[in-house]
């Protein structure tokens, strides 16, 4: 690892009176496989959208491999790949056409885009469905196709928003292996997830965000602090423990 791939300073965003991201600072080293975890509505998607140029921040700075996303968006966007949370791309293209389209949008020559698309479809186990419309893909297949689109130009930094949401274990394993291999090559991955086991297993860097603020960040070992990541997360974010008192009627012993 060398240098900082993602440097976020005082990044903030409000929607009306609600402060979605309240001035976060984040630094991810190049070659890291980093996880961004937090409860629903914590600000994960908003943060990732601002880091990838899809949502204009109210304030703050995002540097990706030294390039300022909001000062020079074309330069910064050229080195990133993005897998958004919404698993809907161009539904009326086939998987093969979609990946080729993504490659051509990224400036790859037509032959190279086609060749890389075929290789990615193979690795993502989508070759058999390459000629089917994306509209007919399952959630897992869509996520894999989106990952293919994000990787086809070999980005230096890859952002993924809930890449394993609604994905079956086999597809999840394919995605996980690809991400691990990608990061091992020196590229950087930052993904948001609710799956603590996955983050704990594959990430070398973890950031926990709650109510638009970062409550913990560091290596996975530092954040876990001797506990499981799940327990560390609950300790930091808090949980409701009064359910049993309220739902006294619930259970086979009651009626």
């Amino acid at each position: 690892m060398s240098g900082t791939a993602i440097a976020v300073t005082e990044l903030r965003k409000s929607f009306g009176p609600k402060e979605a991201v309240a001035g976060i600072d984040l630094e991810i080293a190049a070659g890291s496989l980093a996880g961004l975890v937090g409860p629903n509505g914590a600000g994960k998607t908003t943060s990732l959208s601002m880091m990838t140029g899809l949502l204009r921040p109210d304030g703050g700075r995002v540097l990706l491999n030294g390039m300022d996303m909001w000062a020079d968006p074309p330069a910064a966007k050229a080195i990133i790949g993005v897998v958004p949370a919404e698993a809907r791309l161009f539904e009326r293209l086939s998987g093969e056409e979609l990946l080729e389209y993504a490659g051509r949008l990224r400036g790859l020559p037509a032959g190279e885009a086609r060749s890389r698309a075929a290789q990615l479809l193979d690795v993502l186990d989508l070759t058999g469905d390459a000629k089917r419309l994306v509209a007919d893909y399952s959630t897992g297949m869509r996520k894999k196709a989106m990952l293919g689109c994000a990787l086809i130009h070999n980005p230096a930094v890859l952002f993924l928003d809930e890449p394993l949401e609604g994905v079956d274990p086999v597809s999840a394993d394919t995605i996980r292996r690809l991400l691990t291999r990608f990061a091992a090559s020196g590229s950087t991955v930052l993904f948001s997830s609710h799956v603590m086991e996955l983050v704990e297993q594959v990430c070398d860097h973890v950031t926990i965000i709650d109510k638009g603020r970062i409550v913990a960040t560091g290596t996975t070992e530092q954040v876990r602090n001797g506990k499981t990541l799940q327990q560390a997360f609950i300790d930091l974010v808090g949980s409701r423990a009064n359910d049993a008192e309220v739902l006294s009627w619930l259970g086979s012993s009651s009626s």
Binding site: L54, R88, F90, S94, Y101, A110, R132
Partner: protein
């Protein structure tokens, strides 16, 4: 259960009305339309009189209502979540109980009430005497019940299909013949009525077979009771009730089946292995994507189909009614190109979350110019041959084939202007769209109906304005030799259209470069 589902339907309405002013306006508009239909049909039926010709017309009107009830739920499927039995599948309900509840829910609302009130016009028209009125009341109730049961049967039978991708595609395309029938109806029926070509006696032949359909049985039962044939009237009503019972049983069976049957999935593969034109740089790549969408996306096909219907309706009407055919030909070309523009005035919103992929790749002004020009190339590749073919076709029908070049001139200028306006509205007035559960049609998201109306109307108006110079050139050069006039007009209009399209691309790219994140958020907010 019936009461609960009726309450559920009312609650869904109230929530929708509270959620947005657009929903309130739509509801008020729907109520006004329903009231107009109720009043209009009641009046029409009450002034028909009591003769056999009146019975024939009543049969036709009853049949029109049955067909409307049959077709409209297919188009508006998903607007009323109580319509889809799948939403109730998780609950421990017996099929018959659920059927009764869904029937009651279907009978709740302004349109069932409008149907009932409108058809009750027969009590003041066809029906004569106390027995006639009594049988009329029964017949109308059975007719309304028939309409609702038939609609439920068809909707339930097709619910599975409408939840599959291919089924929704077919439902979207269904709008084209429906729109054509609607346009044909409003263009021809008032004209025929005003000319006296459509009278009660016109339906004499039709009634020979319509009288044995359920709506015919209801109408003729009233006529029979009013003319002293009570036994025949009651037999007709009994037969109608039997038919309703059979449809009801079939519906309950279909309902039971649909609750435990998975949706049809589509496994079709596409032909070809590469994006066409992708070797022609970014512009060619984007053009390839939009070109593919013109063929595979049912909304694109629907838009082109409606454009054709509009061209035909305006052009044929002009050919039939305008002494100066040229005016109609030019109007049809202007309308056609205006709709090409207005149907594509929200390309980013209609692209949906997929636009995020494009937005992370195309952020320089040059790339955005390639994006919009690629879009325009794909649309132009469809619009130019389509519209010019219709201009020449209409000119040939009017036996003035050379006038096709005049229509073509307006087509070329109008398409250029329409695409320019579409590009500009796409970036200046973008809005998210959404498909509600079970509905095949995307519409402006809640709170954005006004935006959609604004972009559509201004695009239509704008194209009307930009084609004025070409129309003036056509009109003011009538005496010039055709060999000089026609090539000059077509080439001049083509250059003018290209210049407009070029200006639209430049303007849209400049705006998009500055607000790409905002446009991305609008696209991501679309639920397609």
């Amino acid at each position: 259960m019936a009461r609960l589902l009726v309450q559920l339907k009312l609650r869904l309405w109230l929530n929708a009305l509270r959620a947005s002013s657009g929903a309130q306006i739509a509801f008020i508009f729907s109520v006004i339309c329903a009231a107009a239909v109720a009043g209009g049909v009641f009046l029409l039926l009450s002034i028909l009189g009591s003769g056999i010709a009146a019975a024939d017309v009543t049969t036709v009107i009853f049949s029109v209502f049955a067909v409307a009830w049959l077709i409209l739920p297919l188009v508006i499927f998903g607007l009323d979540s109580t319509l889809d039995p799948a939403t109730l599948a998780l609950y421990p309900l017996r099929t018959r109980t659920m059927a009764a509840g869904m029937l009651a829910a279907s009978a709740t609302g302004p349109w069932p009430l409008a149907t009932l009130i409108g058809l009750l016009g027969v009590t003041a028209g066809l029906a004569r005497g106390a027995l006639g009125v009594l049988v009329a009341l029964l017949a109308v109730l059975l007719q309304v019940l028939f309409c609702i049961t038939l609609a439920r049967f068809v909707t339930t039978g097709l619910a599975g299909m409408l939840r599959s991708r291919r089924g929704k595609d077919l439902a979207v395309l269904l709008i084209i013949p429906l729109f054509a029938v609607y346009e044909g109806f409003i263009q021809t029926v008032p004209k025929l009525l005003s000319e006296g070509a459509l009278t009660a006696s016109s339906f004499g032949g039709v009634d020979l077979w319509l009288r044995w359909t359920p709506p015919g049985l209801a109408a003729h039962a009233i006529y029979d009771a009013s003319t002293g044939h009570l036994g025949t009237a009651l037999l007709r009503l009994a037969l109608l009730a039997g038919i309703i019972g059979v449809i009801g049983l079939l519906w309950i069976r279909s309902l039971g089946h649909s609750l435990v049957t998975s949706d049809a999935s589509t496994r079709s593969a596409v032909r070809g292995s590469a994006l066409p034109f992708a070797r022609f740089g970014l512009r060619g790549t984007v053009a390839a994507r939009f070109w593919i969408y013109q063929r595979r996306e049912p909304f694109a096909l629907m838009y082109w189909g409606i454009t054709v219907v509009i061209i035909l309706v305006v052009g044929v009407r002009a050919a039939l009614t305008t002494p100066n055919f040229l005016g109609g030909l030019l109007a049809s070309a202007a309308f056609g190109s205006a709709f090409v523009g207005s149907f594509h005035a929200n390309v980013i919103g209609m692209s949906g979350p997929g636009f995020a992929l494009e937005a992370t790749s195309l952020s320089s002004k040059r790339a955005l110019r390639a994006y919009f020009s690629g879009h325009n190339l794909a649309l132009g590749a469809v619009a130019v041959p389509l519209l010019t073919a219709f201009s020449f076709g209409l000119a040939a029908v009017a036996k003035r084939p050379m006038d096709g070049f005049l229509g073509m001139a307006v087509d070329l200028a109008g398409i250029g202007g329409g695409l320019a306006l579409a590009n500009l509205f796409t970036v200046d007035a973008a809005y998210p769209v959404e498909k509600r559960a079970g509905s095949p049609f995307p519409r402006a998201a809640s709170g954005h109906v006004g935006d959609a109306l604004f972009a559509t109307l201004l695009t239509l108006l704008g194209v009307g304005v930009v084609v004025i110079p070409v129309i003036l050139a056509v009109v003011n050069t009538e005496t010039a030799p055709a060999a000089i006039r026609l090539p000059l007009l077509v080439l001049g209009a083509a250059a003018y259209g290209l210049a407009l399209a070029w200006a639209g691309v430049q303007g849209a790219a400049s705006v998009a470069e500055k607000k790409l994140p905002e446009l991305s958020q609008i696209a991501i907010a679309s639920k397609l």
